[in-house]
């Protein structure tokens, strides 16, 4: 086993990986940008090295610097977390060249899965169902011909795609020409590659993904599914494991397909096969994520398997310490991502200092967080500050716990998505477990709508208390200002400057 591992990431996932390492008796090396000297992941590490200025492209994305720190500090392996360098094949190659173990699959596997057309070809060959469509890069004419033959609706997609870019839905043949042109131009500017392919559009799709783990000795298992259909602008908001309305047969078939996908590319490490499931329970391979996912924790809750530890073990050459038949689903788990954003103001990011931080706790609650009271959320990185993960004996209990946990989770100083989650977990459609990826758009007005999380009576009571307390707060501030004013009067502070700040606060910043 490794004696020292470098974690090439920040925030909650860096802390998560360090926790696994500490439990395994492995020393950890953190890297940080100038603005992250006080970040939680630095405090959790045995060693920490600054790798550059705040923008990620000048620090967390510079593979050469990170490999250099690994070699200097004597770290034998690098865990990339998610995001940043986690799915960049060339970084994996660099690690290999420099003799540092990359905790994840090989670079060529990443490249195969990173290119959507190649991935589709590979999966098709391995017998994994793919969304009906082409497995080649197509000319405009070829796309038009395919659409004419098959009929709309179709999705035009960039081969190099990701993050919803270079993607266009065509519901009508008249839209086709302009859709192709726009997809190509977006693909060119986003990925430097304007290759396109085309797929049938799956109606009312549900996003179901299968977690897999594979070692270098030919063993691969799946850890069942997660349902990630609750999305806002292609960003996952709430995930559940197991999924809703997944029959044991469908689960088994999808699990086998995911393991087949992994074996087809000699996959080593943790990975996720994302599938679309249509209303007839047909499933189609969408893409494979070749890293640990944000939502891996809910799978850990229902299986008892520590996925990060397993990743480290197989990267060190060990065999998977469990087989498929030792794995079972135990209860139900849900994750709510807590973002530093203002749900009442179109989800704009909300940076700032966390003045009060009281995470939920108690039975059935796990919080993976990258912050602490007094920490600063900066503008430079992903605004996710914590993951609230709950477990219950069944889905009903998990939802009750999630509601309870959200009601006790306090973050003051920045706005968070907690109030939005509270509305979501009270929505009848969510409670029923009948939703698809269109849920937030259709049933919560894109996040602006949704039910009141409390009874009408409690709600009226809360409003009355809020009015009273606004008056109390105003009173207290007036009192304090009066006191401060007298201090200023006797010399000291610079009223010119403080007026400027105050004026600005009233100004455009919100």
């Amino acid at each position: 086993m490794f004696k020292k591992v470098l974690i090439a990431n920040r925030g909650e996932i860096a802390v998560r990986v360090m926790r696994a390492c500490r439990e395994m008796g492995i020393k950890t090396v953190a890297v940080y940008s100038d603005v992250d000297r006080d970040a939680l992941h630095v405090r959790f590490a045995d060693e920490a090295y600054c790798i550059g200025p705040p923008p990620a492209r000048e620090s967390y994305l510079i593979g050469e610097k990170i490999v250099e720190v690994a070699k200097k500090s004597g770290a034998e392996a690098i865990h990339p977390g998610y995001g940043f360098l986690s799915e960049r094949g060339h970084f994996v190659d660099l690690c290999e060249q420099e003799g540092v173990v990359f905790i994840g699959p090989r670079g060529d596997v990443m490249r195969t899965m990173g290119d959507k057309v190649t991935a589709r070809q590979t999966m098709d060959k391995a017998g994994v169902p793919i969304v009906p469509g082409t497995t080649d890069r197509l000319t405009d004419d070829a796309i038009a011909r395919w659409v004419r033959d098959t009929g709309p609706p179709v999705m035009i997609k960039a081969a190099a795609g990701g993050g919803g870019k270079g993607m266009r839905l065509v519901r009508n043949e008249t839209e086709l020409t302009s859709a192709i042109a726009r997809a190509r131009s977006e693909a060119k500017s986003s990925f430097g590659d304007d290759s396109l392919y085309v797929e049938k559009f799956v109606e009312e799709p549900r996003h179901i993904e299968i977690q897999i783990l594979a070692d270098a000795h030919g063993n691969a298992v799946h850890l069942f599914e997660r349902e990630c259909s609750i999305q806002r602008r292609h960003q996952k908001v709430i995930e559940e494991a197991p999924g809703n309305r997944i029959s044991p047969e469908l689960r088994a078939k999808m699990g086998e397909a995911a393991v087949a996908a992994a074996k087809a590319v000699n996959y080593v490490g943790a990975g996720t096969c994302e599938f679309l499931v249509d209303k007839h329970d047909h499933f189609y391979f969408l893409e494979m994520n070749t890293r640990v996912q944000v939502e891996h924790a809910i799978t850990e809750m229902i299986t008892g398997i520590d996925i990060v530890k397993a990743m480290i073990r197989v990267a060190a050459g060990e065999k998977l310490p469990f087989s498929q038949d030792e794995l079972a689903i135990h209860g139900h788990s849900i994750e709510a991502r807590i973002y530093a954003e203002d749900p009442d103001n179109n989800f704009v990011p909300s940076p700032g200092e966390i003045l009060v931080y009281r995470p939920a706790a108690g039975p059935g609650i796990r919080v993976d967080s990258g912050v602490y009271q007094g920490a600063k959320v900066t503008v430079f990185y992903d605004p996710m500050v914590a993951k609230l993960v709950v477990w219950g004996r069944d889905r009903a209990e998990a939802i009750e716990r999630l509601g309870r946990a959200l009601s006790e989770f306090v973050v003051k100083g920045i706005k968070t998505s907690i109030p939005f989650h509270q509305k979501l977990v009270h929505h009848p459609k969510f409670l029923e477990g009948r939703y698809d990826t269109g849920f937030i758009e259709q049933h919560m007005a894109g996040g602006k709508g949704g039910p009141t999380p409390t009874s009408a009576e409690d709600s009226a009571e809360a409003r009355r208390v809020a009015f009273m307390m606004a008056a109390v707060a105003a009173y207290k501030r007036d009192k304090q200002r009066a006191a401060e004013a007298s201090v200023v009067a006797s010399g000291g502070a610079d009223p010119w400057k403080s007026y400027g700040r105050r004026a600005q606060m009233r100004g455009g910043w919100r």
Partner: protein, 176 residues
């Protein structure tokens, strides 16, 4: 003391308030007077007791008169104004004279200068567009005046606290 509390796009209520002792208030609202025990323990979140009912209340002061008040998982955007505050505000306005600095509240990148030096601006008129956390924010002039200096240029990255611009209010006739 009476406060006028207004909900964004909603009700306005008059809230009467007497502080009996530290944290103990007699509050009149909706025609009823109640006793409120508002404990701010650990200097953090309020615990409110009113006739046995307990509420945890989190208040964010947005500057000006705005307060975001979170009660039992519900967020209310409120403004609270009292007689004295109105008075103080008007007094403050008279005090403002001479050039005023406006500084960056968070680090970001200057995307555009909307009002270059010499522009006459109204209160609330945009001066600079700053990108932070992938969002564009318009930095407005806090009052009427003329932009007399810019601390930044387009494309520049600024730190928190950096001078963005200086606005000079129009000279007022004496006694105004």
């Amino acid at each position: 003391m009476n406060y006028e509390v207004t909900e964004k796009k909603g009700d306005t209520k008059t809230v009467g308030l007497v502080e009996i002792s530290e944290g103990q208030f007699e509050i009149t609202i909706d025609g009823r007077t109640v006793h409120v025990d508002a404990a701010k323990s650990g200097k953090t979140i309020y615990s409110i007791l009113e006739d046995g009912k307990q509420f945890e209340v989190i208040i964010d002061d947005n500057g000006g008169h705005g307060f975001d008040v979170l009660v039992g998982g519900q967020l209310f955007h409120l403004e609270a104004r009292d007689e004295r505050a109105r008075l103080l505000a008007s007094t403050a306005k008279v005090v403002v004279s001479g050039p005023q600095r406006v500084e960056a509240e968070m680090p970001g990148k200057v995307v555009k200068i909307v009002s270059p030096v010499g522009t006459a601006v109204a209160e609330g008129q945009g001066v600079i567009i700053l990108e932070a956390m992938k969002m564009e924010n318009e930095i407005k002039s806090p009052f009427e005046g003329t932009i007399t200096d810019l601390g930044v240029s387009e494309g520049q990255t600024v730190e928190s606290g950096a001078l963005l611009f200086v606005v000079t209010p129009p000279e007022k006739p004496e006694g105004a």
